[in-house]
């Protein structure tokens, strides 16, 4: 069992690309769920829209990457409007069902053979659509230390990604502490009261959905760019659920929760997976109990179990405040 290797893998994942993607996805959800009380279970749809908006214009239509990013933002606003107009009047649990359905619509259309030519079908799109971004990379040699290891491209994604996360978090912090943010929180607590004060709740909810959705699609940009590939099945319901896990782990309605949550989440996942894998390959864990291919399944079982236990025993997460959001709003 190579302990240094496990540490290196784990720490690299804690600060790595996946942590950035989940931090961004969870920041979006924090806007929706943490501050406005919208139970959006379609965040994966926003990520998918973002990811495909990066890949399709560049690969299929030969546009510039920077234009594609703008298209992505535009598309996610459009998706938020489409999603919001019919659903924002619904109660929390109905909203959950409809948003999850919308995200599945996006995924199934993306993977269907009907649109194979432009969206790539179930294999998605793979290609050098991030070239313009990686050409700017000043750290092409990557980073190799005993405890951290990134290749050149990953290092560039990680650096720009965390800067982006910091910027967005800062903007979020300003927004939620403004009068506008207080209205949002009031809607979460009692929307009838807010309505009686003459605020247009529907409009505020829509703004929340759009802002969170755009942040979600930025997570999709990072997802697509970091892998130079978009695969429809990566944007399934599980992605949304794990983004929620990240958010709840850190503590909903806390500005820094998504960052902390994402780091802890990936730290635990990769650590457990590496230890299990090392145990299986060195036969410490017998083969009849867990095969090499089953390590990933055990990992997902633990993730599901973790989400349950977290919700039961510490619904406010690590840094959350039970008074701020106790998650037992009347459904």
């Amino acid at each position: 069992m190579d302990i240094l290797f496990i540490i290196q893998q784990t720490l690299s994942a804690t600060l790595g690309v996946n942590a950035i993607i989940f931090a961004l996805a969870a920041i979006g959800l924090n806007m929706h769920f943490g501050y406005t009380g919208l139970l959006n279970f379609g965040q994966a749809g926003f990520l998918a829209i973002g990811a495909y908006s990066v890949a399709v214009p560049v690969i299929t239509f030969g546009l510039s990457l920077w234009l594609a990013l703008l298209i992505g933002i535009f598309n996610s606003i459009l998706f938020a409007l489409l999603l919001g107009i019919p659903t924002l009047r619904l109660r929390a649990d109905y909203l959950a069902i409809v948003t999850i359905a919308a995200a599945e619509i996006v995924r199934q259309i993306a993977r269907s053979a009907t649109f194979n030519d432009s969206l790539g079908g179930s294999d998605g799109i793979t290609g050098k659509f991030g070239k313009e971004f990686f050409d700017l990379n000043p750290f092409k040699q990557g980073l190799t230390t005993p405890i951290l290891r990134f290749n050149g491209n990953d290092l560039w994604v990680v650096i720009t990604g965390w800067v982006l996360v910091a910027l967005i978090t800062f903007v979020m912090w300003i927004m939620v502490n403004s009068p506008w943010g207080r209205v949002m929180r009031a809607i979460r607590e009692d929307e009838d009261a807010v309505r009686s004060l003459g605020k247009n709740v529907y409009l505020y909810k829509m703004q929340s959905l759009i802002i969170g959705g755009v942040i979600g699609s930025i997570a999709g940009f990072v997802y697509a760019l970091s892998r130079q590939s978009v695969q429809p099945d990566n944007y399934g319901t599980a992605l949304t659920f794990f983004a929620y896990t990240v958010l709840i782990l850190g503590g909903a309605a806390r500005v820094f929760a998504p960052i902390v949550g994402a780091m802890i989440f990936w730290f635990l996942i990769v650590f457990i997976e590496q230890v299990l894998r090392a145990g299986v390959t060195s036969n410490v864990i017998p083969d009849w109990l867990i095969g090499v291919n089953q390590v990933g399944q055990i990992r997902f079982m633990l993730m599901g179990l973790g989400l349950m236990l977290l919700m039961i025993f510490r619904p406010q997460g690590i840094f959350g405040d039970k008074k701020e959001l106790a998650l037992d709003a009347k459904a």
């Binding site: 929390a92 069902i97 409809v98 319901t237 990933g296 599901g304 989400l307 998650l327």
Partner: protein, 446 residues
């Protein structure tokens, strides 16, 4: 590092992922453009001493009943004027060695297919393969089924209506329980689909491993489903949570965690493939007027209708059923008027799990069982109850039939792989016009 959504891929893809991870990034971008997963992706990549060995394209052509088809012509075209024609051997197998990288397309000669067999999707007569590196083996599939495409519009409509009614029944069985549980406890149970999977797996294990006849295995599975998924699940998971005063949204998230845990636990035990029960596997269909339907399908459907009738009578006629409606309406008042609320909830869980378990049995007997079975059904179940009105029993029935029929009949006009998309879009459209659902009360609009 796996991207997280790999979870949803089939086992084959997962194994490939793992394999590609093992041999690190050396096996790059072996992309093969075949069909959607519903048609069955099969991609077996064997990295060998790359440059020298040519790439092998191969496949096995089988009929809808898994019998090999001999003498089917397949023509392959590729870059630099490459072309080859082969026919399948007595095992239905064919292979072609290709010398250079590039995009190849294999076309099956449809006129060689025997009577009654056709491509399930006429657009898939040509399979494309992108060969990025040599020395690998790529498997191409042609989805072949009974020759539905040759049927007339009228016959297809009739067949799809029957299929839709059966699907509607399956959804209704699961939706009734979901709705009753929601009505009495307020829980939106995202782990409801796993009740179907669990009962399906039990049926499979009793029937295929313990060698019991299906007719015995299925009732045992339903009873165990009622006991384990119903009674035990409520007793040891949800009842304690209710006692703790856990909020409804918190419970919803708990059910999501529980569903993920169970799903991968089933994958861990059962593997990622879809398996058929050995008994009645290749049962021939009966021609009844315009439609073709298997005897096992008729029997399971009739019993299913019996279950629905039983559940409806239970709700309307028995003391417990009436009590459950009272609890759904106002738990505090019901409790004050002497109804044992916990007992009602227990009864509802047991009934709901038995119904959902039987839905799982129907799917398993007719289409086979996989660990994703429940998840695949869950969205349709939710669509049905949302459409009908969450919390109303008859709403669930109406919603289920609409969704079932719509999913099947929509394939007359849209590609089969998009049929669930159609159903989900209808759900959203109806919610714009009537947010409370077809039979729902206005209270749900927030």
């Amino acid at each position: 590092m796996h991207p997280i959504g790999d979870a949803l891929k089939t086992d084959v893809e997962r194994d490939l992922n793992f394999a590609s991870k093992k041999i690190s990034a050396r096996l790059i971008l072996l992309a093969i453009t075949t069909f959607s997963a519903t048609a069955g992706i099969s991609l077996i990549a064997t990295p060998a001493n790359a440059a020298e060995t040519p790439t092998k394209l191969y496949g096995v052509v089988t009929s809808s009943t898994e019998q090999p088809l001999e003498g089917i012509g397949i023509s392959i075209e590729g870059p630099e004027g490459f072309s080859a024609d082969v026919t399948t051997d007595s095992l239905g197998a064919w292979e072609v060695l290709i010398p250079t990288k590039g995009t190849y397309s294999a076309t099956i000669n449809e006129s060689d297919l025997p009577e009654g067999q056709a491509l399930t999707d006429p657009t898939k007569g040509t399979a494309k393969a992108n060969v990025f590196m040599l020395g690998v083996e790529l498997r191409l599939l042609f989805p072949i089924g009974p020759g539905v495409e040759k049927a007339t519009m009228l016959e297809r409509s009739a067949q799809l209506t029957v299929d839709g009614l059966i699907l509607g029944l399956i959804i209704a069985l699961a939706a009734l329980g979901l709705n009753l549980i929601f009505g009495t406890t307020g829980l939106t149970n995202f782990a409801h689909g796993e009740i179907l999977t669990f009962a399906g797996l039990l049926t499979y294990y009793f029937s295929a491993i313990a060698k019991l006849p299906v007719i015995v295995a299925a009732p045992i599975a339903v009873v165990l489903s009622a006991f384990i998924s119903g009674f035990l699940q409520d007793r040891y998971l949800w009842k304690p949570l209710r006692k703790r005063g856990t909020g409804l949204i918190a419970m919803l998230v708990v059910s999501i965690g529980f569903a993920i845990f169970l799903r991968y636990f089933f994958l861990f035990l059962f593997g990622g493939d879809t398996r058929q029960l050995p008994q009645y596997a290749g049962q021939a269909g009966l021609e009844l007027g315009l439609v073709n339907i298997t005897p096992k399908s008729i029997l399971t459907t009739v019993i299913g209708v019996g279950f629905i009738v039983f559940a409806t009578l239970w709700l309307l006629r028995t003391r417990m059923g009436k009590a459950s409606r009272a609890v759904a309406d106002n738990p505090a008042l019901a409790s004050a008027s002497g109804i044992d609320v916990q007992k009602v909830i227990r009864a509802v869980w047991i009934l709901g799990a038995a119904l959902a378990g039987y839905a799982g049995v129907i799917v398993t007997v007719n289409q086979g069982v996989s660990f994703l079975m429940g998840q695949d059904m869950l969205l349709l179940i939710f669509a049905a109850v949302t459409l009908g009105g969450l919390g109303t029993a008859n709403g669930a029935l109406v919603g289920s039939l609409i969704i079932g029929l719509f999913v099947q009949l929509s394939t007359l006009f849209i590609p089969t792989e998009l049929k669930y998309v159609g159903a989900l879009i209808v759900l959203i459209l109806i919610l714009i016009v009537r947010p409370q659902g077809i039979l729902g009360r206005k209270e749900r609009i927030g």
